[in-house]
Each structure stands twice: as C-alpha cells, then as structure tokens.
Symmetry: C2
Subunit: 308 residues, 2 copies
C-alpha cells in the first residue's frame, strides 16, 4: 500500500491557510517528497508527517514556489536524526540551484545524491519506487513524475514444493532474487505466479496539457494535477503562463483514463476552488478538489480483496 | 509615531502556529523589516501588512531561521509593484549569502543596495530611521539593531516672523534643511525650539547578554529581546548555544532601564511561554511575552500630550 498526502495546494505564493503545492508519499518505510516551496517543512509537521524517512525528493522545476523551502526541509531532516542518503531528482542545473539555496547550510550528517534529468524521459528505481520523470510544457524546463509500486506474482507454495526448492531459498525467490545454490540456479518465475497489478500515481503541475501526461498518467490509480484557474475568462492566462484550468485537467484525466483526479496548485486569486465542483464533475466524475493535508491510502488490488 | 509589529516569535524552526522571529516597523510611509526566516512572507500577510513600503531590511546573522525567507519576501515585493530601492543591512558576507538564496530569482524591478557591517558599531540614516547596528555575542557574527526616530524642536512661528524669514522658507527650515535665499543663509535653529525626545526601539536575538546591549538599549521605549528558554535547567543550553533565558533578558531590560520589554525567539520545546509570566514580572514588571502579530504604536511624547 502507498500512503499519499497532499501537503499543500497553493501556486505562486504561500498564503495564510494554504501551503505551496507539494506531495508526500510513504511506502515500505521510505517517504518520497515532490517539490518543497517555502513553508513545506511546516506543512509536513502540520500533516503529522516526519522528516527522517524522507529518502527521495523529486523537483518538478526551479520556480521559487517549488524549491525555495529546500533548505528548511534539509535542516529539519538533520534535526530528525536522519543519516540515510537523500536522493534528489530534478532538471539539469539542480546542483547549482541547491548549492545556492544551501549557502547558509551547515555540514549535514547525511549524503545528498543528485540525479539531473537531461532527457525527455528518465526511469529510476529507488527504495521500492519506480519513478518515471517526463517532460511537460511550462515556461521553463519542467517535469511530471509517475510513481509506480510494482507487485510481483503470488508465491506458489505447491509449485515450490513440487520443484523441490530448498525452504531457505523461498524468501529470496519471493523477493524477486535469482539464487545460486549447490550448483543449481533458481529463478523467481519458478515459484511466483503472474505479476499482479501494482500501484500508479502521476503528479504534474505547472504545465499545459500534453501528450506526455496522457501517456504517463494512463490508467493511474491517482492523478494529481494542477488546476490553476476555474473561471472561463482565465483560459487566456492559462495559455499565456503555461498553466492549466481545472476543466483542462479534467479532460486530461478523462483522456488518460485515470481512476481518480485531485486538483491542486490553485492561483492565489482562487479563494474557493469548490465552487467549480459541479461543472468539473460533469466532465470527470472522479475529480476531487485538493485541500492541504488531503490524504488517502492506495491499496494493491489483492489487498482490497483481502479486506473485502 | 512608529508602528511596531512582531511578525513571529519562533527560534530555530517555524512551527504550525508560530512563525520565525522577525519584526516589521512602519514610519512615515517607510517600513523596515528585521530578519526574514522561512515563512516571513506569510506572517506579513497574516498580520495584514504590505510588501511595497518595505524599504529597509536588517539582518541579524546568517543562521537559516533568520534569512531563509529572503527570496519569498523579495518575490512578494516584486508582485506588490515595488520599484523603490531596498536597502539591506547585514554582516560581512551579505552579498554572497543573498546571491546564493536568490539563485532562482528573476530580474527584479527594484534595486537592492547592500550595507555589509564590518565594525562593532555602524550608524546609518535611512528613510527617517537612525539605525545603529551593534555586535552581540552568538556562535557566529551577529548584530543587534537600535532604531531611532529623531524629533526636532517645535516650529516657533513668532520667532520666524520676528526674524523676517520669508514664508516660503518655513517648510524646508521646519524639515531641518539649511536654505540659501536672495544672498542670505537661513538655518533650522532660527525657527526651531530645542530638539524633543524621539523614539527608540532596540531589537536583539541570538546572543548572550552583553554590555553592548546594555549600552545601545539604554532608555529604549521598547526593547525586543530573545527569551529562548524559561526553565531554570536550560541555563546550561543558553550558555552553550549562546542564547538567553527569559530571566536573563529581564535582567538586561532592568540594567538598560528600558520602558518595556517584549520577549521572542522561543525554543521549539517551549510550547507555553506564558507560564513564566509571574516569575518574569517579579524581575522586570514591564515584560510582555511576545506572540505572533503583537503590535503597538510608539508615540512621540508631545503626541501623547496632544492625545491627553
């Protein structure tokens, strides 16, 4: 299962009562943060989340409202006793930007490992997350992120017994490892059924609707997307500033056949996003107006079966 | 009169419900900000203050909780339509620190003029404020600030008439300017009475008690000082981390004969500063436990008379 918490929903500037847009997920003891504008460290505390398990930080782009809280997050990690490395993924130039923001940062007790994105698509496997970064269309280089938790087939005890596989190899094989033992090679497919459906979450802000989003968000369990404006007369602003209206986000969700859409990254001028709910649901019924701290748990399909 | 607003009262890290310590004053259309940790731009909005009139920023030192919100404040100034220059005063190294923090900052529509402090005491006259920066004693170079609004003597109409000073010169003379007119020199002392008592505010955080504070806070109308800890057993922490207890701040206020003391910069572990009120008042009766948004107006003595 994947815990998902939308820490903030604001775009451009943090407001009293609305943190800047960022997301925190938790899976198997590893948290992943997407973006950290000014105040994100406070939003993390307010949501009851913790800093120590944050092992991955994905940066969409280098506008201040997505990155200016980096120093605060890093210092809070330090104060939490974190010693495991932090992987930071972001556009080309990441090292220079973080060096600048950390000009007053003391020596850290953990390592920061950087991945600068240079191609249209990059896939990274880190801490159990399959992370796909893909280019979107903003007025500076900007990436969307798809997070996938893959799910191997169910362990088949009868097949393992029938094949005479030693008991001590069951656990590594179940975890997907190939094992050499007493001159023989054992592979996971000898004991595992067909791969089961995993979990998929796609996150995009600061972009026009793009084919890349349609592709990488396809069939996602949860699609979190900017809905900067709601008013019809703001369509021109969305085009000009390379943002999206809530209505455009709903059409994108429909095209990508996602299960659920959360809107976020509201313009400071948008004080009551909920007023567009009815109109938006007529485009895509499974739309939700994100709010700071909105959380959910995405369960694997067979976990759902177990619970049923 | 001088408007004073304590924007935040936290030390070390911003918390839900407690912004990092900073101060905003307003005088004659010019606002002055002291320090800007992460979230100060939100605290400014929450306090109902505005960005455009902020013409002076004083930085005490370069720990993140006092400077990491610089970029956000600057961008909010930009969005406010500010075009007047911003004076930034701070310790040596200021330019390098601000350049780092502004690594993702676009071109600004206003000029930033830096004053790097290099001596134990520096006096600057800016926008009607007499600003004295003085060294205090922290674990890095740190300055306290005394803000004074000087008050010239009352304009004496009878003397001006008796001396035959042309009417058109009255206004510049009243404002303290020397004027040459038709071959004669007119000076303010020809029309002004004895200087009247002005206003004085002293602000110090992140320091042990020092003689410099006793000197520069002497007789202040308002002394705003850190009170990082309240518990007697935290005296050791105060010594080690070069901070002050609330009790030490009260003794300092007493020594400096200030009229009123506001405490601020509370440790994150100090959840209810008010519990020490009684003890503190027994040391210095005019102590107040600062809280986010605490405001006052300091009036000139003769303004008070006018109001009486």
């Amino acid at each position: 299962m994947l815990d998902v918490c939308l820490l903030g929903t604001g775009g451009m500037m943090p407001l009293p009562g609305r943190w800047l847009t960022s997301l925190l997920t938790r899976y198997n003891g590893h948290s992943l943060l997407i973006d950290c504008g000014e105040g994100t460290q406070i939003a993390i505390r307010e949501a009851g989340q913790t800093f120590k398990p944050i092992d991955i930080l994905c940066i969409t782009h280098f506008h201040a409202d997505h990155i200016s809280g980096f120093l605060g997050v890093i210092l809070s990690m330090m104060n939490s006793g974190k010693t495991d490395p932090l992987f930071v993924i972001g556009p080309k130039g990441l090292e220079k930007v973080l060096q600048g923001l950390c000009v007053v940062c003391p020596a850290l007790p953990f390592e920061i490992r950087l991945f600068e994105l240079e191609t249209r698509e990059t896939v990274l496997n880190l801490c159990g997350y399959k992370i796909t970064a893909f280019k979107v269309n903003h007025n500076m280089v900007c990436y969307g992120y798809t997070l996938e938790i893959e799910r191997s087939g169910r362990f088949d005890v009868e097949r393992a017994k029938a094949a005479g596989i030693p008991l001590k190899l069951w656990n590594p094989l179940q975890k997907g490892n190939t094992v050499e033992f007493e001159g023989k090679t054992y592979t996971p497919d000898m004991v595992l059924g067909a791969p089961r459906k995993g979990l998929k979450l796609t996150y995009t802000t600061d972009t026009r609707p793009t084919d890349s989003i349609r592709k990488y968000a396809e069939d996602a369990d949860l699609f979190i997307c900017e809905g900067m404006y709601g008013e019809a007369e703001k369509q021109e602003n969305a085009l000009q500033n390379k943002h999206m209206t809530m209505q455009e986000a709903c059409h994108l969700a429909l095209d990508a056949k996602v299960k659920e859409l959360w809107l976020t990254h509201y313009s400071p001028s948008l004080s009551a996003p909920g007023r567009y709910r009815k109109e938006l649901k007529s485009i895509f019924p499974e739309v939700h107006l994100g709010r700071d701290g909105r959380s959910t748990i995405l369960n694997f399909e067979d976990e759902k079966d177990d619970q049923a």
